[in-house]
Every structure is written in structure tokens, then in C-alpha cells.
């Protein structure tokens, strides 16, 4: 008879399954670079990338701080814009028809063309980065919020109406809490976009940040530092994703518990 694994065993197995291919690729990479004596400017071995990360720790920390700041503020702006747009689009049929297409069109503008223009308009400071982050992040958020607010059961809305509830009460007691799991799904997507958006915004022109660090390291043939910056970027994204997932668990115990119950069956 099949018996589902316990949670802890399940976690160990998934971690192993996730780690094994990565370790395998890293080992293969190391062996090939050493065996073929590849020039570190072309491709540094993983051990060399680790060494570069350790040696430039101070530099990396400084630039990481800037990138993290941009990603966080940009994401906060996107959250604000996404929630308000999602709510407006749900509440007003007029706005749904007039604004929704605009939202979709905004996503068809290639960021690679827009980002340099933003630098021309707003300079090398933090503003163009925040705009890039906010522009790539607000869309998944507004779609998630719009879907979430629209997901309330008609029966539940009827129940509230029978109690004599006002439109605002139905919104705040049913639609808003109902949309939170959707919001968190959108947030998980956005938070990874945010870091990449910030790095990209810096890449086209900045004083500080992991993006400009990659740029300058590449120009001075420090490929190992480029890889170190990539490593830090990945860790940053995974870390922020983890924080969102943790917040979800804390804020929506009913949702996570419900999922746990289904898993048990």
C-alpha cells in the first residue's frame, strides 16, 4: 500500500532532488574548465566565482544594498498601483472596458527600448529604476487583485445582502479577504521580477547597483565578478520569494491550513 511521506521526509527528498542536478552541473562545469584550461575571462570555474564573491564581498554588499532598495521601493509602488487598478477595474464596468486594454498594452512595450529612454528623461539616479521595477511588477499584481476581488461566491454576496450589508461591507468583509490568496500569488511572481527589473534598470545606466557592477566588471574582463553578481542576484530573488511565502503563511493561516488538510487526504 502507498503511504504518503511525512512532511519532513517530503522536504528532505525535495531538497535533495533540487540540489542534485545543480551540484552535478557545477561539478561538470568545474571539470570541463580545468580539463580544457579555459581562459577565466571566457568562463571562470565555479570555485573561481566563489573566490571572487569572497574577495569582492564589500563591493558586492554595497551594490546589493542599492539593488535591494530599488527592488523594494519599486515593488511597493507596483503594489499600490496594482491594488488600486485591480480594485477600480473590478468595481466599475466602465473602467474595466476603458482601462483594462490599456493595462494589457502597457505590457507589450519592450522594456529594452523603454529603459534607456527613462534614463534620458530621469537621469542616472534611482527614479528610472523604480519605474522599470514598478512597470514590470504592477501587471501581475493588478490582474491577481482583479481576479481575486471578482472571485467572491454569488451565494455569499446574497447572504450579506440579506443581512442588510452595504456595498462597502460586502467589499471589506468578503471581496477583500477573498482576494488575498490571489494577491500573494501575484506577489510571488512580482517579487522575482522586481530584482531582475532593478538589475536591468541599472544595466542601462546607474551610479550604483548589481546591474552596473556587472557592466563595469564585464568591461574590465572580470568575468568572475560578473558571475559573482549573478549569484548574488539569484540569492536575492530566492530570498525575497521566501519572505513572501513566509508572510503568506503568517497572514493566511486558514488558506495554508486548508491546503494542508487536502494534502492529508
Amino acid at each position: 500500500m502507498f503511504r504518503p511521506p511525512t512532511m519532513t521526509r517530503f522536504h528532505t527528498v525535495t531538497w535533495l532532488l533540487a540540489a542534485l542536478p545543480v551540484l552535478g552541473i557545477l561539478a561538470l562545469w568545474e571539470v570541463i574548465v580545468r580539463a580544457l584550461a579555459i581562459d577565466p575571462v571566457v568562463l571562470p570555474a565555479p570555485t573561481r566565482v566563489l573566490a571572487a564573491t569572497r574577495d569582492s564581498a564589500g563591493l558586492l554588499a554595497m551594490h546589493t544594498r542599492q539593488t535591494l532598495l530599488e527592488a523594494a521601493i519599486g515593488l511597493a509602488l507596483a503594489l499600490l498601483a496594482g491594488c488600486s487598478l485591480g480594485a477600480l477595474v473590478t468595481l466599475s464596468p466602465f473602467l474595466r472596458r476603458s482601462v483594462y486594454p490599456l493595462l494589457v498594452v502597457s505590457q507589450t512595450i519592450p522594456m529594452i527600448a523603454l529603459a534607456p529612454l527613462l534614463v534620458i528623461w530621469f537621469g542616472f539616479g534611482i527614479v528610472p529604476k523604480l519605474l522599470v521595477v514598478a512597470l514590470v511588477c504592477f501587471f501581475p499584481l493588478s490582474v491577481a487583485v482583479a481576479d481575486g476581488l471578482g472571485s467572491a461566491e454569488p451565494e455569499t454576496v446574497r447572504l450579506l445582502r440579506s443581512m442588510g450589508a452595504t456595498g462597502w461591507q460586502i467589499f471589506s468583509k468578503v471581496r477583500m479577504p477573498q482576494s488575498l490568496p490571489y494577491l500573494f500569488s501575484g506577489l510571488k511572481i512580482s517579487v522575482t521580477y522586481a530584482v531582475i527589473g532593478a538589475v536591468f534598470g541599472e544595466w542601462v545606466g546607474a551610479y550604483e547597483g548589481l546591474g552596473i557592477l556587472m557592466q563595469t566588471a564585464k568591461n574590465s574582463y572580470r568575468t568572475d565578478v560578473v558571475f559573482a553578481a549573478i549569484l548574488v542576484t539569484s540569492i536575492l530573488s530566492v530570498g525575497l520569494f521566501g519572505i513572501v511565502a513566509m508572510l503568506e503563511r503568517l497572514m493566511l493561516p486558514w488558506h495554508v491550513r486548508g491546503a494542508g488538510r487536502q494534502r492529508k487526504q
Binding site: 440579506s162 486558514w254 488538510r261
Partner: protein, 268 residues
């Protein structure tokens, strides 16, 4: 003068001046492909304060529509509906939909106080009121449980407490036990009877279960297939308090046969 004439119109049913629920000449049709589909036709009944009235009928006889109209969620095409003498019903009656419609993010206790909250009762006070009823309802210890952790019967009880706590002296129950297994349903009947006797509220119950209607009610209305009309308004004379054993008594079985005949269109 007007009141006098109302009395004669209302005819056979037990009429009091302050009927908890009064339905007069109610008709309702839905638009379907540009034709009108009549759902309810000339419904007429009233429920005295504290009475337990059941509405039975085949599927599609408009039972749920009738309840929705009494709740004020919809308006009739013609006729009138009053609750406690006034036509304003939203917020004045306590409506319990077919599904338990508990909010998954609220604990059992906080689900039960939803109606109180909507009416502006401070949470602390509402919770205190609900806690008392949780004890009466045999739900002590489950106050902090989320609905996903409760059994079907318990969810239904929480939904019922929410209905009771919503306030108003009229409860409108739309097949509250339809989704439960036979054993749980029978337990819920006794539970509901016990609570109803304690609360002294008026109940209008919609069901397709004749036995359930007989066991619980003072009066059973039988609706015809669509468009629903009242084909029989039957006064149940079983003594109270009622209990499960009565369902096999001779009188009960005779009543049941009578109601089933009425549902299936046999003129009695």
C-alpha cells in the same frame, strides 16, 4: 376597515394582526429567451409569530425563489410580502442559504457573528453573545476552528447560529439539511427543534423532504410543479415536543401519504 378586509382575504390560515410573515397574491416570472417563464403564481400564506412553517414541493416549483423574495433579495412581480407588518425585509429577516457559505478565513466563532457585525455590533460584544450559543449548540471548543476543519454537520450548525444571531424574529431556511447524510440530518432535526423551542422565533423552512417538514412544522405548504401554486396548506396536529419516534406512528404515516399525494398531483 382595511384590516377587516385583509382578514377575509387571508381566509383559512391562522390570522393574527401581527403576522410574522405575510404573503398575499405573490407572483413571479423570470425572463427566458424573451418569453416570461412563470415561477410562482398567486402564493398566499402567513405565519404567526413563533410558528414553524414548511414549504415542500418538487424541484423547480420555485421554493427557493419564494424564500429569496421573502428575504427581500428579490421583489415579486405582483402581490405583497410583509415581515412584521412592513415591506422592508433586507436586514429584518435571517436568511440561511442552501450551502453553508461559511467564510473560510474566519473562525467558527467569527463566522457566527457576521450578521451582528454587519449591523454594527462591536466585535467583543458579538463574540460574547455567540459564545453563549456555541455552548447551547454543542459547539463548545470549536470556536477557534476554521470551517475547513469542521464536519458537514458542524458547519451547518455554525451557519445556523450565524442565522440566529443575525437577529430578526424570522428565520428563512433554504434546505438547510439537504447536503447532510440521513443520520446527521435526523440529529440536526432534534437539535433544531430544541433550539427553536428555546428561541421562540418564526421559521419558514424550504425542503423537499416531506418527513422533515411534518416532523418540524406547525403548517406545511405544498407547492405544485412550475409555476408553483399552493395546492395544500396542511396543519400538522402532532403534539409537541416532537421526537424521532413519531415518524413511525400511524398518524404520521397517514399525514405523510396525504402530503405525498398532494405533491404528486392526486386531488385529496
Amino acid at each position: 376597515m382595511a384590516r377587516e378586509s385583509t382578514r377575509t382575504v387571508q381566509g383559512d390560515s391562522a390570522v393574527t394582526d401581527a403576522a410574522a410573515v405575510g404573503v398575499v397574491g405573490l407572483s413571479k416570472a423570470y425572463a427566458l429567451h424573451s418569453t416570461a417563464l412563470p415561477v410562482l403564481q398567486d402564493i398566499r400564506f402567513d405565519a404567526a409569530p413563533g410558528a414553524f412553517v414548511s414549504v415542500v414541493g418538487p424541484s423547480g416549483s420555485g421554493k427557493s425563489t419564494l424564500l429569496g423574495i421573502i428575504a427581500g433579495l428579490e421583489e415579486p412581480d405582483s402581490g405583497s410580502v410583509t415581515v412584521g407588518g412592513t415591506a422592508r425585509r433586507l436586514g429584518a429577516v435571517a436568511y440561511m442559504p442552501q450551502a453553508d457559505t461559511l467564510l473560510p478565513w474566519r473562525t467558527a466563532l467569527d463566522n457566527a457573528i457576521l450578521g451582528l457585525e454587519v449591523r454594527g455590533t462591536p466585535r467583543r460584544e458579538a463574540r460574547a453573545q455567540a459564545r453563549e450559543l456555541f455552548a447551547v449548540a454543542g459547539l463548545s471548543g470549536f470556536e477557534a476552528a476554521y470551517p475547513s476543519a469542521l464536519s458537514g454537520g458542524m458547519r451547518q450548525r455554525v451557519a445556523f447560529l450565524r442565522t440566529v444571531l443575525t437577529g430578526g424574529s424570522v428565520l428563512l431556511l433554504d434546505e438547510p439539511f439537504g447536503a447532510l447524510d440521513a443520520l446527521t440530518r435526523s440529529e440536526m432535526h432534534e437539535w433544531l427543534l430544541g433550539l427553536w423551542e428555546r428561541l421562540s422565533v418564526t421559521v419558514v423552512l424550504v425542503t423537499h423532504d416531506v418527513e422533515e417538514a411534518l416532523l418540524l412544522s406547525d403548517r406545511v405548504l405544498v407547492l405544485s410543479p412550475r409555476p408553483g401554486r399552493v395546492v395544500l396548506s396542511y396543519e400538522v396536529r402532532l403534539p409537541r415536543p416532537r421526537h424521532r419516534a413519531m415518524t413511525v406512528s400511524e398518524a404520521f404515516v397517514r399525514d405523510k401519504a396525504l402530503l405525498l399525494d398532494a405533491i404528486h398531483g392526486v386531488v385529496s
